[in-house]
Symmetry: C2
Subunit: 403 residues, 2 copies
């Protein structure tokens, strides 16, 4: 018998309560034992909610209730959420989370703490919302050497880029619309500047490559500098601007992980991922490319991933399963600076000078471009080589995703 406490009755937390209730009968039958929601911790009261009677305000009630064996942490952030997670694990309770910030920053230590106390720490919902990715990645991993992970990991930025590409809205206009629709927060920094995608690629890369990779080890660039000019040039060569989180296993065993806007070829399945959808491509030495696609956020999709983990925790009571990794360190990662690839560069260098500098170079065109503007795709080179050679001032530099 599992008794569940939810920490934080926000969008995801209330979704978890709803899924546990609406799909309760089949959840019980699939776990072969009842799964019952006992408490919901929040600072607020919700007198009109059907769950009003379960609301409590004091975490120690949960901590000290030996009946509670699964704690769902949907508070977010890495402060109070961390404290409550540690206290729940230390009390031997399994913790299920949708909190990517906490897993990306403290996943290793929390998994260690869980092990020490015979509890589970599960985080399927922290990446890709409802898309099953954490366990399938472990499953791909099983028989493969994973070489690369590439993902559209943030629904807000993908929505904004889609509106820019399809409807010609500017970044500011598209952001405003995303906020009006509830897809972007009033302070959109974490999404727009790539921090959310950064946390998610940290989690995927740590799991795939086996050691903790921290957000500060991942060079992160957002989409606030993407203009309609870039979107038009990308379109002129059959590509789309997408914000990608990438993690590449280098031959020396180190991992290069970064988040940045890329030009993605139209034939690449990632190019067709629109609106708030997410998709994650995993490349393995036997499996080739596989892709997982779905709604990367939202109340019920994310809640369904949380509840799947609650069920896993309930089923594996006493014999927890670990989807874990080893400790991090400076030796784990390597900068993306010497990663060779083709670049999209918009700037003011003259065509003749560009030809002299790069030799073979594709010129792009768009209608309404200022006379002095040029945009090109370069041959493969590193960022440093590009910057050394570019004969003028650059306005925008994006990587081109290799096919």
């Amino acid at each position: 018998m599992a008794k569940v406490a939810i920490l934080g009755f926000g969008v995801v937390g209330s979704g978890v309560a709803e899924v546990l209730t609406v799909n309760g009968a089949q959840i019980d039958s699939r776990v072969h034992s009842p799964v019952e929601l006992k408490y919901i911790l929040d600072v607020r009261d919700f007198p009109d909610s059907p769950f009003a009677s379960k609301i409590i305000h004091d975490f120690s009630v949960i901590e000290n209730d030996p009946e509670v064996n699964v704690v769902v942490e949907t508070i977010g952030g890495a402060k109070i959420a961390k404290e409550f997670t540690q206290r729940a694990l230390a009390a031997g309770k399994s913790v299920v989370t949708s909190n990517k910030e906490l897993v990306a920053k403290h996943g290793y230590e929390l998994m260690e703490l869980a092990k020490e106390h015979g509890a589970s720490y599960l985080y399927e919902a922290s990446v890709g919302g409802g898309i099953p990715i954490i366990r399938p990645l472990k499953q791909c991993l099983a028989a493969n050497e994973i070489t690369e992970i590439t993902g559209i990991l943030n629904g807000t930025t993908n929505y904004i880029l889609t509106r820019m590409i399809r409807s010609g809205l500017s970044f500011r206009e598209a952001l405003k619309e995303a906020q009006a629709k509830g897809y972007a927060e009033q302070d959109p920094t974490a999404d727009v500047e790539g921090h959310d995608a950064c946390r998610k690629i940290c989690i995927l890369a740590s799991l795939a490559f086996g050691r903790h990779i921290y957000p500060e080890q991942v060079a992160t660039e957002g989409i606030s500098e993407v203009t309609l000019a870039d979107v038009a040039y990308a379109d002129s060569c059959g590509r789309k601007v997408k914000l990608l989180g990438r993690a590449i296993h280098r031959p020396d065993g180190k991992v290069t992980a970064f988040v940045a806007p890329h030009l993605v070829a139209g034939e690449n399945p990632l190019a067709g991922v629109e609106d708030v959808f997410n998709a994650i491509t995993v490349k393995g030495n036997a499996i080739g490319d596989v892709m997982f696609y779905g709604r990367g956020a939202g109340k019920l999709p994310t809640a369904s991933a949380v509840v799947a983990d609650v069920m896993e925790a309930a089923r594996s009571m006493g014999q927890p399963k670990y989807l874990d990794w080893r400790p991090g360190g400076e030796d784990v990662t390597h900068s993306c600076d010497d990663l060779t690839g083709s670049w999209y560069v918009r700037g003011n260098a003259e065509p003749e000078a560009l030809r002299r500098a790069f030799g073979e170079v594709s010129f792009l065109a768009r209608s309404g471009a200022p006379a002095e503007e040029t945009a090109i795709l370069t041959p493969p080179m590193t960022r440093a080589e590009l910057e050394g050679k570019y004969p003028g001032q650059t306005a925008t530099v994006f990587r081109v995703l290799e096919d």
Copy 2:
């Protein structure tokens, strides 16, 4: 310690031997115990193979060797493969298979036999090649009521359709090319007529909806009647012709499963699945739509799914996990005849007569059409309604996939 025997040293079987060898070190470390290939059963000898010393010809050697605890069945078909699977399970050995025909026809009884003898019967590789779908489907299932599964389940037919759509080859020409490239068998019936897709949708639907669904309960239509005229008309309305396997959970609890060519809107992610790739969309009441995408066949992708199952079998020795379902029956399924939807119809009815018959109807156009040919998209209706109303002779009738 797991000792493995492979039955059938064909494309997949030899891929399994290769993956077990090439990725051996990490497989052992992930299973926390050595996984060793002991025998390969085949009627042939392979004197030049690096695995020559492991080739045997007598199944009873495997059956009677108490060291062998995992048997990989990559023979195919439902005769000798069935006998060997039964004998292996009866001897308490876990069996891992890529054989969709056997699972679709006899999955229920083989899983029961496995349970009786404390062994596992695992079949991740039977659907979608290397794409992790069986376990993730179970995971989606965990917290969701699954309502629908839609998949491009056969790489051969998807390759043929892609070549027709992109390069204007006729069905015959594209088939010939697929055979030359090794994507289609010399007798292509099982692929081209939809039988392979039918077996796969049976397996997915049995797992998702909980009771065995047999191939003969699934109305199955292939792509041999698809013409370049149909491809052109589909293109004229922004759609692509795709062979889909579908399974729909009806409100009365029954399942409607069928395989047929469909017109799929360009914005649907399934429309972008090209060449030999497969994709499976799962719709759940909480999760919404998720899609799994990758190479649906091929030596190493399929082998990687088999090996992941071998590792699962090795890890869960003595406490097997079941991805199973309850027995089938006539009460499980319901015909697709009364499934309402829009239809694509190419035939010889006159525009005026079509307008009178259907009211609102979209006419499609293509260059080079014979004078008497008309092609339309109808309003939603059942197949019987369509046939009752169509004022002429139909050449082609396909469903239009709802968005």
